[in-house]
């Protein structure tokens, strides 16, 4: 591996964890820079967590604050749960990037600014009257003004490339400089460049040169006196890869289909931030995966229902507005009792809301969002890699109980990434599927004694020709039936079937004491922030317990008992108090809500302060 050991003697400091925020125009390649730094850090053995923050506009006008695209990575030699509350380093390619992200930089943090980006025009666009790099307003920080564009151009001078092409290489210079500063391996990025531009050798040369120029600049320039070392983290032995939530979701679904020997069918309509599930799955046709880009959200889910009726594992992936459109169809799947997984990658709302920002305000929609009594199973992923497990679990329950299952993820974990310890396929359980084939006394709405699931009788099976649909079914026969007692009975069956799933899911695990003053109950993507906050509180000697729910309907059977053992129950959510409302109503506990709806995840610090406040009072 090509090492970038310093030739000059510079001081090396060891750090436990570092947060870097790369920011620039949406055309500056900051997402790419961030993901390359991530791969390199993973290979260096750090634990890490990342979060991309990009604008809703595809290419907002250059230099504007709303066109700023950022990527934050938190890496360390200890366990890392979040992308970090505040950054230690801000790489700002222009004034807008500085303006937008300065408030998240810690006091005394490092600013690496691309000097050429701070033109009078860009300063004006970002709303600066004077150049902040010169007016002393950044005296609380360590500011490094680097001629990123100019030095990149110098390095590529003899290649005779157009100025636009040269300008586009500057992110690799910045990346090289960060590699030097944090002693990261460069080889993975060089290999990536070679592969990415294999048909354009001049770009391989240009980008590699820019990367190395950044690396060497750190080494030779006088302005940097210190580099930092972040030792490998102690991770569970195994093979790892970095994975985003949406990619993990796709792999989880493929695995469930393979383990159940079913064809996987995804019906989807492009929507932020769920489209990557469609992109990912469309690549894996060799796994017997069919992906259908439908004409709208309703077609996407109803086609998936049609596929499930035909004997496939039908799934659909969407976000809040699409979810709202799918509700009637989910009711149909409830009535027809077919397996179906609906992945809702939540975003800020209501209406179109904040498409690229995160929120977890679709819990009510998932649990209650249909006409009449239409219970479904609801699950939520806690972290990017947990999306793999939750997709598999959702599919398992959908098949076993012949029911729609709603899977909640959100923009934060869908686009965020973390190292995933890769499982061995043979260690994963199979999901048994038994299509009904015996025409003797066949009853489409007979039920399994234990699960209450009805038989899955698919077209093509001789002698089982039958009709199902959205009208109320007669018990056993499935014929249309409007009798009062029958309706009551069927409503009860559908409710009880979902309740019985509780017998088939693990108890929720408690972290910390089993009883005490304060229990924190979380669900979904807040896992990382809550866990960090709890760890920090405990480090200060406080007793705080934590549970994190992945099964939201039905709840794990031991939930009530745990809740009753604490004096205070705190429920932090990125909504206005949806889980806490349900807990209060179901368990009659005075759960305390802690809410935030800013399109952003919780900072661990915010939760830590709330914990302090509750334990004081």
């Amino acid at each position: 591996m090509e090492n970038n050991k310093s030739t000059k003697q510079k001081k090396t400091e060891t750090l436990d964890e570092v947060v870097i925020h790369f920011a620039g125009d949406s055309g500056d390649g900051m997402q790419l820079t961030g993901t390359q730094f991530t791969t390199s850090s993973a290979i260096a053995g750090n634990d890490l967590n990342t979060f991309p923050d990009f604008p809703a506009e595809i290419r907002a006008p250059a230099g504007t604050t709303y066109g700023v695209s950022g990527f934050q990575i938190h890496f360390g030699s200890r366990k890392i749960h979040t992308p970090g509350d505040r950054s230690d380093v801000l790489v700002a390619m222009n004034p807008a990037a500085l303006r937008v992200n300065l408030k998240h930089l810690r006091d005394g943090g490092i600013i690496i600014a691309n000097n050429q980006g701070f033109t009078p025009k860009n300063l004006k666009l970002a709303g600066y009257e004077k150049n902040p790099l010169e007016d002393g307003s950044l005296s609380n920080y360590q500011v490094y003004r680097v001629d990123v564009s100019k030095l990149t151009a110098n390095a590529l001078e003899d290649l005779n490339l157009g100025s636009k092409v040269v300008e586009r290489c500057k992110n690799f210079f910045a990346l090289g400089l960060m590699y030097w500063m944090y002693d990261r391996p460069v080889e993975p990025t060089i290999n990536w460049i070679k592969d990415k531009f294999k048909s354009k050798p001049e770009l391989i040369e240009a980008n590699t040169r820019a990367l190395k120029a950044g690396l060497h600049y750190g080494d030779i320039t006088e302005i940097f006196t210190t580099r930092y070392e972040v030792k490998p983290a102690k991770l569970e032995p195994g093979t790892y890869r970095n994975i985003t939530g949406n990619a993990a979701l796709a792999l989880g679904f493929i695995t469930a289909a393979k383990k159940s020997e079913l064809e996987l069918y995804l019906g989807a309509y492009p929507i932020t931030p769920a489209s990557d599930v469609l992109h990912e799955l469309s690549q894996y046709k060799n796994f017997n995966v069919k992906t259908f880009q439908a004409e709208d959200e309703i077609a996407a889910i109803t086609a998936a229902i049609g596929a499930s009726y035909g004997g496939s594992l039908g799934i659909t992936a969407t976000s809040g507005p699409g979810m709202a459109l799918k509700m009637e169809a989910i009711g149909l799947a409830v009535m027809m009792e077919l397996p179906l997984v609906i992945a809702d990658i939540q975003r800020g709302g209501p209406s179109t809301g904040l498409p690229t920002k995160t929120e977890q305000a679709d819990l009510f929609q998932a649990i209650f969002g249909r006409n009449s009594e239409a219970p479904v199973c609801v699950l939520a992923a806690a972290t990017p890699s947990d999306c793999f497990n939750i997709a598999y679990e959702a599919s398992r329950i959908a098949i076993k109980y012949m029911t729609p299952v709603i899977l909640l993820s959100d923009g934060y974990i869908a686009n965020g990434s973390e190292p995933w310890r890769i499982p061995k396929a043979k260690d994963l359980d199979t999901i048994p599927v038994k299509f009904h084939t015996d025409p003797e006394n066949f009853m489409p709405y007979s039920r399994d004694e234990k699960t209450l699931a009805r038989p899955w009788a698919i077209p093509g099976t001789p002698g089982l020709e039958h009709r199902i649909g959205g009208l109320e079914k007669q018990d056993l026969t499935g014929n249309v039936n409007y009798e009062p007692e029958n309706h009551q009975k069927m409503v009860n069956y559908r409710a009880e079937k979902i309740e019985r799933i509780a017998d088939d899911i693990p108890d929720v695990e408690i972290s910390g004491e089993r009883e005490g003053d304060l229990l924190i109950v979380g669900w979904g993507s807040t896992y990382g922030s809550i866990t960090s906050a709890v760890e920090r509180s405990r480090a200060k000697g406080k007793s705080v317990s934590q549970i994190h729910l992945r099964h939201l309907n039905p709840f794990p059977k031991n939930l009530g008992e745990i809740l009753y053992n604490f004096k205070k129950v705190l429920v932090p959510e990125l909504n206005m108090g949806q889980l806490s409302t349900i807990l209060r109503s179901k368990y009659l506990v005075p759960a305390i809500s802690y809410n935030k709806v800013q399109g952003l995840p919780f900072k661990a610090e915010e939760l830590e302060n709330k914990i302090d406040e509750l334990l004081r009072g």
Partner: protein, 344 residues
């Protein structure tokens, strides 16, 4: 199982397609005829009962699957083409039919209809067009005539109606036909032709709603009127109609005109000769526009029948190719894709 196997081999009769459910349409409804003709002709489409699925939406017509002893799915309003599309993609081996109405297919489900057509997914869509909302008791529909007085349009509807055949042609449907509930032989022949087509087949059936829109099509179906108002399209034959087969349709540029063929001025050789397989759809479109022209007879029969790749088979081909070319879904290989590292 042995019994079933024997049963599969024998030729079906209409009775084999009758389910055990009571038919609950209003007495005198045109739907009864559509059901009866379907049951009569289905033994001839050559598909095993176990492989036939009827999918429907909501409305009077959408009760149809309950009465056919095949597989059936009574879905939600407007979504039958989408449900059927998903089913056909997942199971290209099945023969998938959609029973739908003018409100279901052209109003709430209009989007799914045009997209099914353009994809040329192998579905047979049978539109029961009675130009009224029946199940909700008599509001005007997207095919009701302009000015129609109904419960929801007491001063006359100000909606211009869809021309379903023209809509299907415009959406690139590969099989487009029209028939009549009160012409059993014609109805049977069209259902059979649709069954034999590979790709989206669309049949518009003019269907009488004797409760809310009685007689809407009597000028096309009743003796003494239909002869002068209907022209039956037959592939390769000139457009001749009239009680005495003495009238024809002649193309004057792009404009169809009625001419007499018994007074010596014109003969059959001068008439518009129907070519359902024509390369371009201009002629079919001209025929479709005759529908609402009070001067011209309404065409029934197959307007257009062409071939192009179907969505379901292309989708299956991509899966098959991927499975041939790449490993047949090795999970460990999938999990370990891209950059990995080992922690000891």
């Amino acid at each position: 199982m042995a019994d079933t196997a024997v049963k599969e081999q024998k030729k079906y009769t209409a009775k084999d397609f009758q389910s055990d459910q009571d038919v609950r349409w209003c007495p005198g409804c045109g739907d009864y005829s559509i059901l009866a003709q379907t049951q009569r002709v289905f033994p001839d489409i050559g598909v095993n009962k176990k492989d036939i699925v009827w999918v429907s939406g909501i409305g009077c017509s959408s009760r149809f699957p309950y009465y056919m002893d095949t597989y059936g799915l009574h879905g939600i309003h407007g979504r039958a083409p989408a449900i059927a599309s998903g089913l056909k993609m997942a199971r290209p081996d099945l023969s998938v039919w959609v029973a739908t109405g003018d409100g279901d297919l052209l109003s709430i489900g209009g989007n799914h209809f045009i997209h099914a057509c353009r994809r040329n997914i192998d579905l047979k869509i049978v539109l029961f067009n009675n130009q009224i909302y029946g199940l909700t008791k008599g509001q005007y529909s997207p095919t009701s005539e302009f000015g129609k007085i109904t419960k929801s349009s007491p001063h006359g509807s100000v909606d211009h109606p869809f021309n379903p055949v023209a809509l299907a042609l415009g959406a690139e449907c590969t099989f487009v036909a029209r028939t009549l509930d009160r012409d059993p032989k014609h109805l049977q022949s069209i259902i059979k032709a649709a069954g034999e087509h590979t790709g989206t087949a669309f049949i518009e059936v003019y269907q009488n709603c004797n409760v809310f829109n009685d007689g809407a099509f009597f000028h096309l179906t009743e003796k003494g009127q239909k002869e002068d108002n209907v022209v039956a399209l037959e592939h390769g034959k000139p457009l001749v109609f009239g009680a005495n087969q003495d009238k024809g349709v002649r193309l004057d540029g792009f404009t169809p005109k009625i001419v007499s063929i018994d007074n010596g001025e014109y003969s059959k050789d001068d008439l518009f000769v129907h070519d359902e397989n024509a390369d371009n759809d201009v002629l079919a479109y001209i025929l479709s526009r005759m529908t609402y022209d009070p001067e011209l007879p309404t065409p029934i029969g197959v307007f257009r029948k062409t071939q192009k790749t179907t969505y379901d088979s292309e989708m299956q081909n991509q899966v098959n190719k991927a499975r041939e070319k790449r490993s047949d879904g090795d999970l460990d290989e999938l999990f370990n894709k891209g950059e990995t590292w080992v922690v000891e």
